[in-house]
Symmetry: C2
Subunit: 331 residues, 2 copies
DNA sequence: GTCCTTTACGTAAGCGCTTACGTTGATTTC
DNA sequence: GAAATCAACGTAAGCGCTTACGTAAAGGAC
C-alpha cells in the first residue's frame, strides 16, 4: 500500500490539512514544519493520489484527443504538438483513434466524459450532428483542429483550404502549366475534399484554363489511393503536365505510380502536394507542397483549450508553398 | 452540475446502493426496479463519474505509454496497436513523448504513478538504471516493447535484433553481394544499435567476408542521419554494392542521398532496411526490409499488461524479410 | 404455524484528498 | 494592559462512488 496523506500527517505529527497546504504551496505553517513534513514525504516516498485530488478539485489535468487515424504522419505531427504543449502545462493526453467510425467516436466521447477530462481536441474529422449533440451535452471545452463545426460555435484552428488550394494551383500555372490534373479527397468531404477542389477549379477559371472532370480523381488522402488516382489520371488525361494532390501521402502515391510507369518527375510531370509532412521531405524527388503549420496548430490547440493565452474565437493559420524538386517550369 | 448517483437514487426512490448495483450488473433488485432506475438514468443523462469510481475501486482503466518519439512511423504503428487493443478491453491510453530525455521520462513516470494508472508500456527505449529504480518503487505492472530491462525482471516483447540483422546481411550475401556497408544506429545503443551491428558482422564473418570499419556508419535511426551516413559511405567505401540500414527511415535517407548523387538503386547499389514501416512500401524504389510485426507487438503488449491472455514471461516475435525492389542480385 | 433461507433492498463507512471554519497563542495597537 | 489582529494550525465535512453489513419481507420445508 502506498502511503497516503494521513500517513504522512501521522508521521510528521501534524494534521492532513497542514500536509495538504504544504504540498499545494499555500500558507499557514512555519518553515520548520514545512521542512519536517517535506522530509517525511521524501522518506516515505509519498506521492499524492491524483484521483482523489481530481474528485475534490473537479480537475483531472488530462485532456483527450480524437484522431481519425493514429498512424498518418499528419496525425503524428499534430499529436506531437498537442502532447508537448500539454506536458508543458502539466496536462496528460489520452488518445482516441476513432478510425472515422461513428460508433467508436461516440464511445470515446462518453469515456472521456466519464473520466472527467478537462477538455477535448478533435482533429481532422467532420463533426456529424450526433457528435455535436453529445458534445453539447457534455459541457466540456472543445477545440477543433483542421475541422469546423456546423451547429455549435466551437473554436477551431485550421488553414483556409480553399485559398491554399487556389494558391497551389496558381503556383503550377505560374510555372507555365496549363493542363493540370488533381488528385483530390472525396467529393463528399466538406473539409479537405470539396474546398480544395473548389480552390483548384477557381484558380483554373481565373486563369482562363478549362476545367475537365477527366482531370479530377478522387482518393481518400492515403498512399494507395494516390497511386490509384495517378494511374487513372495517366489513362484518362495523359495530356496533363502537372498534378495537384490534396495530401502529401497521395502525392507520394502519385510519385510511386509515376516511377513504376516510367514517367519522370518533374521532367515529364510535375507534382505538388499538400500538408508538408515529413514524407514530403523524404520523397524522391523531394516534394514541393503547401505547408500547413501542423505541429504549431497542435500546440495552439491546447493553449486555446486551456485558455493560457488570450485567444478570441477561431484561428486561420497561415500557409505557404515550400518549393522542393517535384515541380518544373515549362516553356 | 451533472447528476450524481444520489440524484438518480432520489429520483427513482431507491438508495444509491441499489443504483450502483444496477449500474454494475450485480444482483439484488427486481426487474421492475431496474427498469425504473434505468429510465431515470436515461432521462437525467446520468453518467457515472470514473474518478470517484477509480478512487474506491483502485482501478482507473487507463494505461500509459512511453515513447521516445511520437512522430516516427514506428511509434505510430506501435501506438495504433496499443490503442486499439486497449480500447477493445475498455482501457484508455495516455501518451508520453519522452524525447529520449531522462528528466522528462522520470516526470512522466511520476505523473502516471500519481494518476493511478493500471499499467505502463515502455517502448523502444533503453531503461536507464534510474528508470528501473522508479519503476520498482511504483508497484505498477510494466511491459516493455522493443526493449529489455537489465536489473528488474520486466516482461518484454521484441524481435531478436541480432538474428534479424544477421539474416538481413545474409540475404544480401545470398544475392551475391560481397562488399556490404552498414548504416547502423549508435554504437552505444544496446538495443537496436549494437546487436544489429554484431549480427551484421557475424554474418560477414561466417561467410568469410572481411569486416571493415570504413563500411560501418553511425546514425540515429532518423532520416537525416540516413542521408548523412550514405554520403559518408559513398566517400569512404565506394566499393560497396549493398548496404544494410538499421531502420527504414535511414534506408529512405540513403535512398534520397543515392538519388541526389545519381547512384541508381538497385542497379548501382542495393539497400535493405529494417522495421517494415509504411515508408518502406512508399519508398522509391519500394524497400526490401526486415519485417517486425510492430502493430501486433503493440496489441500483444496490452494483452500481456492486462493479463487477458495467458502469457508466460517475455516474447520474442518472429521477423522475416519482405522482398521489394531495392536489392538486386549480382553476378 | 414455526424456523430457516433467500431476496431485495437501505445504511453508512470509507477511498484520499481539499478546504471552510474554528481554535489557540503570540503579536500588535492604543 | 485590554482589545484587536494574525499566523499556525486542527477538525470535520464532503467530492461521487462502492460495498460490508443489517433488516424486513417473502418463500420454502416440515
Amino acid at each position: 500500500m502506498r502511503p497516503t496523506i494521513s500517513d504522512v500527517a501521522k508521521q510528521s505529527g501534524v494534521s492532513t490539512a497542514t500536509v495538504s497546504r504544504i504540498i499545494n504551496g499555500q500558507s499557514g505553517y512555519t518553515a520548520k514544519t514545512r521542512q519536517k513534513v517535506l522530509e517525511i514525504i521524501q522518506e516515505m516516498g509519498y506521492k499524492p493520489n491524483a484521483i482523489a485530488r481530481g474528485l475534490v478539485n473537479k480537475r483531472t489535468n488530462t485532456i483527450g484527443v480524437l484522431l481519425p487515424s493514429l498512424s498518418s504522419r499528419l496525425s503524428s505531427a499534430l499529436l506531437k504538438g498537442i502532447e508537448n504543449s500539454a506536458h508543458q502545462l502539466d496536462y496528460s493526453v489520452i488518445i482516441c483513434d476513432t478510425e472515422s467510425d461513428g460508433k467508436r467516436t461516440i464511445e470515446y466521447l462518453d469515456v472521456l466524459s466519464e473520466k472527467q477530462i478537462d477538455g477535448i481536441i478533435i482533429t481532422s474529422e467532420w463533426l456529424k450532428d450526433v457528435y455535436e449533440e453529445t458534445i453539447a451535452k457534455m459541457k466540456i471545452p472543445v477545440v477543433l483542429v483542421l475541422t469546423t463545426s456546423s451547429h455549435l460555435q466551437i473554436p477551431y484552428i485550421k488553414v483556409d483550404d480553399y485559398q491554399a488550394s487556389y494558391q497551389a494551383t496558381e503556383y503550377l500555372i505560374g510555372k507555365g502549366h496549363k493542363e493540370i490534373g488533381m488528385i483530390s479527397g472525396s467529393k463528399t468531404d466538406k473539409l479537405a475534399g470539396l474546398p480544395r477542389i473548389e480552390g483548384y477549379k477557381q484558380a483554373l477559371t481565373d486563369n482562363s484554363l478549362t476545367i475537365s472532370e477527366n482531370r479530377i480523381t478522387y482518393g481518400d488522402f492515403a498512399y494507395r489511393s494516390g497511386m490509384r488516382c495517378m494511374e487513372e489520371l495517366l489513362k484518362k488525361a495523359p495530356e496533363i503536365t502537372a498534378v495537384f494532390a490534396a495530401s502529401d501521402e497521395m502525392a507520394v502515391g502519385a510519385l510511386s505510380c509515376a516511377y513504376k510507369k516510367g514517367v519522370k518527375v518533374p521532367d515529364d510531370l510535375s507534382i505538388i502536394g499538400y500538408d508538408d509532412t515529413q514524407e514530403a521531405e523524404m520523397a524522391i524527388p523531394p516534394l514541393t507542397t503547401v505547408h500547413q503549420p501542423i505541429y504549431d496548430m497542435g500546440k495552439m490547440a491546447v493553449e486555446m483549450l486551456l485558455n493560457t493565452k488570450e485567444t478570441v474565437g477561431s484561428i486561420l493559420m497561415p500557409h505557404h508553398i515550400v518549393e522542393r524538386d517535384s515541380v518544373r517550369k515549362i516553356e
